[in-house]
């Protein structure tokens, strides 16, 4: 019984330790980069590349675009590194750059009426299924999709303001607080968007 307690304490210590070590490593590399050592940045890229690429891919549904935007996000972060407040979490700052770039990219591709409709989008969820009907595939084709393709397809049909919160919460597994900082939205708005995002997804999945 006592042994069990001890090992339990150790596990939680390790967990805190890993996070602390990673932050310390990142801050150390940032300082080196700021001193002019460009190569130190490769450790930062190495550490966050998969998570950042995943966010971009989930947002854009296109491998080439995701790669381009994720790389661009790292480059922007590098250029603006002197503005980063090292008391804050680096990943939050980096993800914010990436999600902004993704949203810009999505809006550039969309016809204007789509944008306007979203801004005006109030409570009515019906509007969203109407709006996304443009990219909707025939039902039989959707039913034959592999699970992973189907997930990405459904995510891609969400309006981008719901897509971003759903991706950050369920795929990046971030806390609501972090999501609110990344998207620069009040916590309440993040919650509402998650609720509506889940509801919109539910309708998509059950509309076949």
């Amino acid at each position: 019984m006592k042994l069990f307690e001890i090992s339990f304490v150790n596990i939680s210590d390790q967990k805190g330790g890993v996070g602390y070590k990673m932050d310390a490593l990142v801050n150390n590399r940032i300082k080196q980069v700021l001193k002019g050592d460009q190569n130190a940045y490769s450790d930062i890229v190495n550490l966050y590349q998969h998570k950042l690429y995943q966010i971009c891919y989930r947002m854009l549904s296109n491998k080439h675009e995701a790669e381009d935007i994720a790389q661009e996000a790292f480059v922007r972060a590098y250029i603006n590194l002197h503005t980063f407040d090292q008391k804050r979490k680096f990943s939050t700052w980096l993800y914010r750059i990436a999600t902004n770039l993704c949203i810009d990219r999505i809006r550039k591709k969309k016809p204007d009426y789509y944008l306007d409709a979203e801004v005006a989008g109030t409570e009515g969820l019906d509007m969203y299924s109407q709006l996304s009907s443009n990219d909707k595939l025939p039902d039989d084709q959707v039913e034959q999709m592999e699970l992973q393709d189907r997930i990405q397809y459904e995510i891609s049909r969400l309006p981008d303001k719901y897509r971003s919160v759903i991706v950050l919460k369920y795929m990046e597994e971030l806390s609501l607080q972090e999501i609110s900082e990344i998207l620069d939205l009040p916590l309440g708005t993040v919650k509402t968007r998650i609720h509506r995002g889940r509801e919109a997804l539910r309708k998509q999945l059950n509309n076949l």
Binding site: L34, G36, Q38, N39, Y41, S42, V45, N46, Q49, H50, L52, Y53, Q54, Y57, R58, K63, E67, A70, Q71, E72, F74, V75, Y78, I79, H82, L147, Q148, I151, Q152, E154, I155, I166, Y170, M171, K191, I194, H195, R198, E199, L201, R202, L205, N206
Partner: protein, 202 residues
Amino acid sequence: MGTCPQYIVDYMQEYLDGDISRENEQQLKQHLQNCASCRQHMHELSDTVAFVKSAAHITAPPHFESEVMKRLPKGKSRVGVQRWFRRHPILVAVAVFFLFMSTSLIGSYQNNEFSVTKQPNLVLDGQTVIVPEGVIVKGDIVVKNGDIIVEGEVDGNITVINGEYMASTAVVTGEIEEIDEVFEWLWYEIKSMANTVVELFQ
């Protein structure tokens, strides 16, 4: 489901957030026991969450890191740029010069106008500047498109552009330069600008 109150759906969402009060949870459970359509709705929402959570983790392509490193700008930080300016003042001056000044300078070179630095005690004779005997000029003298004869003393540099420097028993503490070619003259302008640039960055 049309007859069911909206707050029941709100409770479902709060329940899925793991952020529901005990009272609301009780109310939700009671309603779900008696309402098949809300039960269905709740099931669908839970399935939706399970569906997105089953998304596989995606990894970046193989050469992602090196591609990012290739895309980084070379002369990155502002500190670095300032240092570079200080180390290469002539190059910076050349760049600044050709960007902003070339037309006006070449223009003024080509109009052949006589000019001389304003200093007290200088005597002008047509396009010839004379530093008379017994006179001490403190500071640099630049003569453009004219000659200079020094009989007294100059405590500074003398530069003659497109002209001649003549002296017999003169005392000049600084450097004497004669510039006749366009290129040399430009070079002179660039050098003096470089000194200004160096001062700016110190």
